[in-house]
C-alpha cells in the first residue's frame, strides 16, 4: 500500500516530537528540529511521490471502512497543503531557532507547541471525516492560542484570550453543524455525505452554522477583529506561522465541504454573499493596513485583506461553467499557496527590520534602506506577490481568477481584484517610502543574524518562483478533485 508509513507519520512524527520536546531539557528543544525537519520533509515527499505514481488514495485508519472507521484522503489538494506546510513551517522553525535565543522563557514552550500545531494542521489536510476535522481544528487552534500567549505581556494575553474565545465559538458552531449533518445522514465521512446529502432545512441550517464557525476562524471580514492583535502582537515566527498557515486550515475545510455538498445543496445566494464579504475584506483590510503605524500590524491587516480573495472562489464555482470553475479552483489555490509563502516572508522580513531599528514603528524605518538592503529586498519581493505584479504567484492567481470571473460573466469581481492590488501597493510602498527617506535617526542599526535574512529571502523568492512555475503545482493540486478534473 502506497504511503502506508509516510501518511500516518505526517501527524505521528510531530506528535512524538512534541512529547519528546517536553521531556528534554530546554536547551535541547530547538535541536530536535535537526531530527524532525528532515524526517517530515522525507514523509511529505514520499506522499507526493505516491500521488504522482499511483494517483489519489484513501488511507483507512485501523483498517476499518468508513463510516465505521476514519479515512484519510491523500489527493492532490491534501498533498499540496502538506508540502506548503512543510516548506513554510520548516523555514519558520529555522528562523525561530535563531530568533528565540533572545526570548529564553518563550523559547522553551515554543517548540512543543510548534510540533503540536504541525500535527494538527497535517491532520486537517488529510481528514476525510467531518468530526475528525473538528478534533484537528482543536489541536491546531489550542496550540496557536498558546503560541500567541508566549510573549506573556498583558497585551499578548488579552490577544490570546480573544483569539481563544473566537476560535472556541467557531469550533462550537462547526460542531453543531456536524451534529446536525450526522443526525440527518448517519455518516461523518465526506464521501458518504456527498452521496447522501439533499437540499432540506436540516442541511441548510447545518451548512449555515458550519460556514459561520469557519468564517470566524478564518477571520473573514467582518469577523476579523481578533486577528490583528493576535497575529500582529505575537513573536515574529509565530505571526508568520499563524498568518501563512493556520487561517488557511478553516478555509480549506469550507472549500472541501462546499464541493462535497455539491451544487444541489450549496445556495447561489450564499456563494455571492461570501464573495461580497471577501470583497469587503479586500477593501477594508487594505485600507486599515495602509493606516497602521506599527509594521507588524500593517502586515496583519494585509492578511485580513488577502483572505478576501480566497472567498471569490465560492461565487466563481457555484452554478458556473466547468471551465470557469476550473480556473477559479486553480486561481484560489495558487492564491492560497502564494499568500502563505509571501505572508510568511513579509512577517519574517518585517521582524528583521524591527530587530534592525529596535522599534515596531514604521516611522522609525527612516533611512534603513542604506543599512539593511537585504531585509528590505525580501519585504519588497513578498510585496510584489501580494500586490499581484508579474511574475509572482500572486499575479498568476489573480490572472486565473480574472479569467474565471470573465468566463462566468461576473465582471464585478474584476473591480475587487484591481482595486485590491492598488491598495496592497499603497501599504507596501508606505513602508518603502519611509525606508528610503533621509532623516536624523540613521546613525545606528543592529545587524540581525544572517540566517534570519536568508530564511525571509528564500520564502519571498519562493512566492515569486511559484508564479513562474505554476504549471506543475497546479497539475498536482487538481488530482482527485471533485470539480471533475481528476
Amino acid at each position: 500500500m502506497i504511503g502506508l508509513w509516510s501518511v500516518p507519520l505526517l501527524f505521528a512524527l510531530p506528535l512524538a516530537l512534541g512529547i519528546l520536546s517536553l521531556l528534554v531539557v530546554p536547551a535541547w528543544r530547538p535541536r530536535l528540529i535537526f531530527v524532525g525537519l528532515p524526517l517530515l520533509a522525507a514523509a511529505s515527499l514520499d506522499v507526493l511521490a505516491g500521488l504522482a505514481t499511483a494517483g489519489p488514495q484513501v488511507y483507512r485508519l485501523g483498517d476499518w471502512i468508513a463510516p465505521l472507521g476514519i479515512n484519510l484522503v491523500v489527493d492532490g489538494l491534501a498533498v499540496g497543503m502538506i508540502l506548503m506546510t512543510t516548506l513554510v513551517a520548516t523555514l519558520c522553525a529555522l528562523y525561530a531557532r535563531v530568533y528565540l535565543r533572545d526570548h529564553p522563557p518563550a523559547s522553551s514552550f515554543f517548540w512543543p507547541l510548534l510540533w503540536f500545531l504541525w500535527a494538527g494542521m497535517n491532520g486537517i489536510w488529510l481528514a476525510e471525516d467531518i468530526f475528525n476535522l473538528y478534533v484537528g481544528l482543536e489541536v491546531m487552534g489550542l496550540a496557536a492560542v498558546g503560541m500567541v500567549a508566549l510573549r506573556a505581556t498583558p497585551q499578548a494575553l488579552a490577544a490570546a484570550m480573544r483569539y481563544l474565545l473566537a476560535a472556541l465559538l467557531g469550533s462550537l458552531a462547526y460542531l453543531l453543524g456536524v451534529a446536525l449533518l450526522y443526525a440527518a445522514y448517519g455518516t461523518l465521512s465526506m464521501a458518504g455525505l456527498h452521496e447522501a446529502a439533499t437540499n432540506n432545512a436540516t442541511t441548510q441550517v447545518a451548512l449555515a452554522l458550519i460556514i459561520l464557525g469557519l468564517l470566524l476562524k478564518t477571520a473573514l471580514f467582518p469577523l476579523h477583529a481578533w486577528l490583528p492583535p493576535a497575529h500582529g502582537g505575537a513573536l515574529t515566527p509565530v505571526s508568520a506561522l499563524l498568518s501563512a498557515l493556520v487561517i488557511k486550515a478553516s478555509f480549506y475545510i469550507l472549500l472541501r465541504l462546499w464541493l462535497v455538498l455539491g451544487p444541489e445543496v450549496t445556495p447561489e445566494l450564499t456563494a455571492q454573499l461570501l464573495g461580497v464579504l471577501g470583497a469587503g475584506a479586500v477593501f477594508y483590510g487594505g485600507w486599515m493596513a495602509w493606516r497602521q503605524h506599527h509594521l507588524k500590524q500593517l502586515v496583519a491587516y494585509s492578511t485580513v485583506a488577502q483572505i478576501g480573495y480566497l472567498f471569490l472562489f465560492f461565487p466563481l464555482v457555484t452554478n458556473t461553467s466547468p471551465e470557469a470553475a476550473r480556473l477559479a479552483w486553480d486561481g484560489t489555490l495558487m492564491m492560497l499557496v502564494a499568500h502563505a509563502l509571501a505572508k510568511a516572508a513579509l512577517f519574517l522580513s518585517a521582524g528583521n527590520l524591527i530587530l534592525a531599528v529596535g522599534s515596531p514603528q514604521i516611522s522609525h524605518l527612516v533611512g534603513i534602506s542604506r543599512f539593511r538592503p537585504m531585509s528590505l529586498f525580501s519585504f519588497g519581493l513578498a510585496g510584489v506577490s501580494l500586490m499581484g505584479l508579474p511574475p509572482s504567484g500572486g499575479f498568476t492567481a489573480k490572472w486565473l481568477l480574472l479569467h474565471s470571473a470573465i468566463l462566468s460573466g461576473q465582471w464585478w469581481w474584476l473591480i475587487v481584484l484591481f482595486l485590491g492590488g492598488l491598495l496592497s501597493a499603497a501599504y507596501i510602498f508606505k513602508v518603502f517610502r519611509m525606508s528610503f527617506r533621509e532623516g536624523p535617526q540613521i546613525d545606528r542599526s543592529v545587524t540581525p543574524p544572517l540566517t534570519l535574512d536568508v530564511v525571509a529571502l528564500v520564502l519571498a523568492a519562493s512566492a515569486i518562483l511559484i508564479g513562474l512555475f505554476a504549471h506543475l503545482p497546479l497539475h498536482w493540486l487538481r488530482m482527485g478533485s471533485v470539480l471533475g478534473m481528476g
Partner: protein, 233 residues
C-alpha cells in the same frame, strides 16, 4: 447597552428557532451506523460499543483528543512559567478534613479502578476514571496535604505524556506486519486497548490535576486578584 442585550437575545432566539426547525425537519438517515458497529463488535476486542468506537473504530479521534489535553497543559505550563511568583500552598490545614480524606482516598481510587475496568462492558473508561483520579488530587490539595512528589517537573511531564506516547507507540507498532496505523490485531485488541486505557487514565488524571494546580491561587476571586498593597489603599 440595552440595544446590545436585545440584539443578543434576538440572535439567540433566531439560532434556537433555526435549530429546532432543523431537528424537526431532519430526514431519517439511510446509513445505519449502529448496525455496522454491532456487526463489527466481535473484532473490536471489547464488549461495550462506546468503548469499541472510542478506542478501536475511531481511535484516531481519541488519539488527537488526548493531544488536545496535552496541548492545554503545555499552554498552562507556559503561562505559569511566565509569571514570576511560585504557586502558594493553598488549602485548609484542618485535621478533620485530613481524617475524612484518609477515608475517602482509598474509596476514590477503587471507584477510578472500577470505572476503568467497567469500560470494557458498560459505560465508563479512561476519561471517567481519569477525572475521578484528578478529583482525588484536587481534594488532597484543598485539604492542604503536601504533594511535593507532584512538583518533580520531569516525572510530572513524563506522567502527562505517558498516555499519548503509549497510544502513539502502539498505533505505530501494530503497523509492523504491513497494516495501516492503529490496526490492532484482532487476537490482542482487548489487551492493547486495556494498556492504552490504563496509561490514558493516569495521564488524563494528571492533566486535569495539573490544570487545577497551575492556576494561580488568587485567580478565582476578582477582588483578590490585585496585589496586597493595592487592597490596603
Amino acid at each position: 447597552m440595552i440595544l446590545r442585550i436585545v440584539l443578543a437575545g434576538l440572535l439567540c432566539l433566531g439560532v434556537t428557532v433555526a435549530l429546532g426547525w432543523a431537528v424537526l425537519e431532519r430526514p431519517m438517515p439511510v446509513e445505519n451506523l449502529p448496525e455496522r458497529v454491532a456487526s463489527a463488535m466481535p473484532e473490536s476486542g471489547v464488549e461495550h460499543p462506546i468503548t469499541a468506537v472510542l478506542l478501536n473504530f475511531r481511535s484516531y479521534d481519541t488519539l488527537l483528543e488526548i493531544a488536545v489535553l496535552l496541548v492545554a497543559v503545555v499552554v498552562a505550563l507556559a503561562l505559569r512559567e511566565a509569571q514570576p511568583d511560585q504557586p502558594e500552598q493553598m488549602g485548609l490545614d484542618n485535621p478533620l478534613l485530613r481524617a475524612v480524606m484518609a477515608w475517602l482516598l482509598p474509596l476514590i481510587l477503587v471507584v477510578a479502578g472500577f470505572l476503568l475496568w467497567a469500560g470494557s462492558y458498560q459505560p465508563g473508561g479512561a476519561f471517567q476514571a481519569g477525572s475521578v483520579l484528578a478529583a482525588a488530587g484536587v481534594l488532597l490539595r484543598l485539604a492542604g496535604v503536601t504533594t511535593n512528589w507532584l512538583d518533580n517537573a520531569l516525572l510530572m511531564r513524563a506522567g502527562l505524556a505517558l498516555g499519548l506516547l503509549t497510544f502513539l507507540g502502539i498505533g505505530l507498532l501494530v503497523m509492523l506486519p504491513g497494516v495501516p496505523f492503529l490496526t490492532y490485531p484482532a487476537a490482542h485488541a482487548g489487551t492493547l486497548i486495556l494498556v492504552i486505557e490504563l496509561t490514558l487514565t493516569l495521564s488524563i488524571g494528571l492533566t486535569l490535576l495539573s490544570l487545577f494546580r497551575l492556576t494561580p491561587p488568587y485567580a478565582d476571586d476578582p477582588d483578590d486578584a490585585r496585589p496586597q498593597e493595592d487592597r490596603n489603599l
